[in-house]
């Protein structure tokens, strides 16, 4: 444990630049650490040393030792010289896929802002600009049969998981062609087909639901004896949620029952206007995992390749049946909490610092510097995404509003749930029921 005593534990500075010099990959008892620097060189791996296998476990019991060594992120010159292909973190296809997904997220959210100010979108809209690396880094490793739960900041999680941009935009416009037929809205994106279990407005709500889906994965394998890969679940939530009771309840249960779930904290330092450091006794959220015997990691969430590395480990651990992981991603939202937030409390210096670490710019630089892709290819992706987003807006504009009858629909899966009508028959059998003329 000698190494730990030499780590500087975070003493937050009020200028809100993070001064956490080290991050720590592993469960209880790990002696080596990731060293993380705060410049954009991080993406290229300058000065970073990967964590190695945790030698022992604190507390014993049925806590497994932490992860096996992740691939070392070695020094890479950022001067643009060609590197050995074998050292690259992504193949060309993967790199382009990641780029496309992040650009889709960014363009979509920018379009949402435009549409909101034009009155096409309404209510609460929370945008994800700046955090794309987390969504892309994790979700692009998942299959369609895996699950994701999110918060109200869920548009980009939906897009990364595969929900078509048209359906998401139509849902935001409140049209009947939306992924939830216009009945959910910005904060409640659901898609049974793509394994998106919400979209929850209350923070912390999605965490137990993801744990439940993980429970079902395990149950189906062990009790129902179903074959195939174990579907994993990922719960995305923020720094504010990490103080909520449900979060801790779920860390306990997930580790206790070794469920295939990954807890991803998108620590963007702010919960509306409440700074993470003002509300949290120990701001290092990843440290809460080892208290439950859970493997934990802290990763730079502005770097999609780093996120992807850590995510791969976590997903593999979950699929193997070795249990959950808690991953804290240091990230930042470029816009306010929602489109109604004047965003006055965040220091301009902090915003500028993170704007310089824009994940899309960083990935683009990596792809170009390492000659994985050409400028032209990236430009064509950007153009394609522009068209996709324009098309989504046109589709949503042209789609019809839900009919009057839709008001009473979908309250129950079993339509008899409205009970028995005046004529003694079930209300749902009344022909006037869905025409909006039946009395309920």
């Amino acid at each position: 444990m000698a190494a730990l005593s030499s780590l500087r534990v975070a003493v937050p500075q009020l200028d809100s630049r993070r001064t956490l010099p080290c991050s720590h990959f592993g469960g209880a008892g790990c002696e080596k650490a990731f060293f993380r620097c705060q410049s954009s060189k991080l993406l290229l791996g300058a000065g970073c040393v990967a964590g190695e296998k945790a030698p022992r476990v604190a507390g014993g019991g049925n806590v497994r030792a932490a992860v096996s060594a992740s691939k070392a992120v070695t020094e890479k010159p950022n001067s643009g010289s060609k590197s050995d292909k074998a050292d690259l973190l992504v193949t060309k296809d993967e790199g382009l896929e990641l780029y496309e997904d992040m650009v889709l997220g960014r363009s979509f959210e920018d379009m949402c802002a435009q549409m909101y100010y034009r009155g096409k979108m309404f209510g609460f809209v929370h945008l994800y600009n700046g955090q794309e690396a987390v969504s892309t880094g994790f979700i692009k490793l998942l299959k369609q049969t895996d699950f994701v739960t999110s918060t109200y900041r869920d548009h980009v999680h939906a897009l990364s998981k595969g929900v078509p941009a048209r359906q998401v935009m139509a849902e935001l416009f409140g049209k009947s062609t939306g992924c939830c037929r216009g009945q959910g809205g910005s904060m409640h994106m659901f898609s049974a087909e793509h394994g998106l279990l919400g979209g929850f407005a209350f923070i912390g709500e999605g965490i137990p639901v993801a744990v439940g889906a993980a429970f079902t994965s395990k149950y189906k394998r062990e009790v129902l004896k179903e074959e195939g890969d174990m579907p994993v679940s990922i719960a995305f939530f923020g720094d504010g949620t990490a103080n909520n009771g449900q979060f801790f309840e779920c860390l306990n249960m997930a580790q206790l029952w070794k469920l295939p779930v990954i807890f991803v904290v998108e620590n963007n330092l702010w919960a509306i206007g409440m700074s993470h450091y003002r509300s949290t006794s120990d701001p290092e959220i990843w440290k809460k995992g080892p208290a439950f015997g859970m493997a934990s990691a802290h990763v730079d969430g502005m770097d999609v390749l780093k996120v992807r590395e850590v995510a791969k480990e976590a997903v593999e651990r979950a699929r193997r049946g070795d249990g959950p992981t808690l991953i804290e991603c240091e990230t930042y939202r470029f816009r306010g909490h929602s489109l109604a937030d004047p965003d006055e409390l965040r220091a301009p210096a902090e915003k500028a610092h993170y704007a310089a670490r824009d994940p899309i710019v960083a990935l683009k630089k990596y792809l170009l510097d390492n000659e994985i892709a050409t400028e032209a290819e990236l430009k064509s992706i950007e153009k394609k995404i522009d068209e996709v987003v324009e098309d989504a807006v046109e589709f949503a504009d042209a789609s019809p509003l839900p009919g009057r009858s839709q008001l009473l629909e979908n309250v129950f899966a079993d339509p008899k749930g409205f009970g028995i009508g005046p004529d003694g028959r079930y209300r749902c059998e009344d022909p006037g029921f869905t025409a909006g003329t039946a009395q309920v």
């Binding site: 659901f190 919400g198 407005a201 009790v223 749930g417 028995i420």
Partner: protein, 379 residues
């Protein structure tokens, strides 16, 4: 509650001869004996046995059904409703949870969204207040919010309402709270037939069901027909039952108060007041048709519930009757509810805080414009 625990614990350990759920064989043997007894005579079973057998049969029929809650496994259930299930189905399907209502309720909802059929037990529904966010926001609203694509086939069950001497934080009736929420089905069984039929219907139902039992009814025995004991017996959700036909006054009530109403009806029959007792069985959907048809027949309504009066179930029933059957009423609608106070502890105060049979009788006479028992010649 401590008294109940002590009694139950003594009973269980005497049955199991000294082991805390230790000897699975003897527990199963005890259960087998009592089951054989039940099916042979087909006479009467307790509400507890009714619930246990319903859950047992549904778990046998569908391996996606599982039970989770505090003390449901090794302790055999805080109120012994899940007795024997751990021994029969194993720890994968009968889960003892940590004391984390919000967490495990949400977990149940997530499992249901993905395709299992959880039965989540709350030790009492008072504790469900720690999980009410998931009951309402994730369970009840999800089918609607997802445009009908994701349903939540989950059952939340547990004792509701006042027990005996358990004081304010353990005695609240939640029928009105859950009954208000669209997307939930709220069931309130009274006797063993209700318990069996409604529990099976609830487990098979594709929507979230809040199943409000009553601790004091668990030990009560009711006669049941052979049909009720059949594994495929279910009751329709949303249909009330006329427990007793009458012509002078309709008493609408649910859960434990049905028993009080029936006893009051017996007394009132001796005075020549013929009372019709409607057992709601279901708070949501509310069977307004049965209620109104009965009131149109008798012209008088008395609603009875254990919960608080303001915004209670009785308020909704009165509103429904006044809206739909106003011109049939011969007297103002009346409700008897629990006193508008948190439940006191002292035994005499507790008796005052909850409707008693005498209250029902007095109210019935008042509604029928009888000042006193006409049989009494002396004042």
């Amino acid at each position: 509650m401590l008294a109940a625990f002590g009694k139950n614990r003594a009973l269980v350990s005497s049955l199991l001869r000294g082991g805390n759920g230790g000897d699975g064989a003897s527990a199963a043997a005890v259960w087998a004996v009592s089951k054989r007894f039940m099916s042979a005579s087909g006479d009467s079973i307790t509400v507890r046995e009714a619930l246990n057998s319903a859950i047992d049969e549904e778990m046998t029929a569908d391996s996606k059904v599982f039970v989770m809650g505090e003390e449901v496994g090794e302790y055999q259930g805080a109120y012994k409703v899940t007795k024997g299930l751990l021994q029969k189905f194993g720890p994968d399907r009968v889960l003892d949870t940590p004391i984390t209502e919000a967490g495990f309720t949400g977990l149940g909802v997530g499992a249901a969204m993905y395709g299992l059929k959880p039965i989540v037990e709350f030790m009492t529904f008072n504790f469900a207040m720690q999980a009410i966010d998931h009951l309402i926001n994730s369970a009840a609203k999800t089918n609607y919010m997802s445009g009908g694509t994701i349903n939540v086939p989950i059952v939340f069950r547990g004792p509701n309402g006042a027990a005996a001497g358990v004081a304010a934080q353990h005695s609240q009736c939640f029928a009105a709270w859950y009954g208000q929420v669209p997307g939930l089905k709220v069931l309130v069984p009274y006797d063993a037939e209700d318990a069996r039929g409604l529990m099976k219907a609830a487990i098979r139902d594709p929507d979230p069901v809040v199943f409000l039992e009553n601790e004091l009814l668990y030990g009560e025995s009711f006669p049941v027909s052979k049909e009720v004991l059949d594994p495929s017996f279910t009751l329709p959700i949303g249909k009330a039952k006329i427990m007793r036909e009458g012509s002078d006054l309709t008493i609408v009530t649910f859960s434990k108060m049905v028993g009080y109403a029936l006893k009051a009806a017996d007394e009132l029959a001796k005075e020549g007041i013929s009372v019709e007792v409607v057992n709601l069985r279901s708070i949501r959907p509310l069977d307004r048709e049965t209620i109104n048809a009965s009131v149109r027949k008798t012209s008088r309504l008395l609603c009875l519930e254990e919960g608080w009066p303001q915004h209670g179930v009785c308020a909704e029933i009165c509103a429904s009757v006044v809206e739909e059957s106003f011109y049939y009423l011969d007297a103002p609608v009346e409700r008897i509810c629990g006193a508008d106070v948190p439940m006191p502890y002292a035994a005499n105060l507790e008796r005052l805080a909850v409707p008693q049979i005498d209250d029902v009788i007095r109210a019935a006479r008042r509604i029928c414009f009888r000042k006193q028992d006409k049989r009494k010649a002396t004042a």
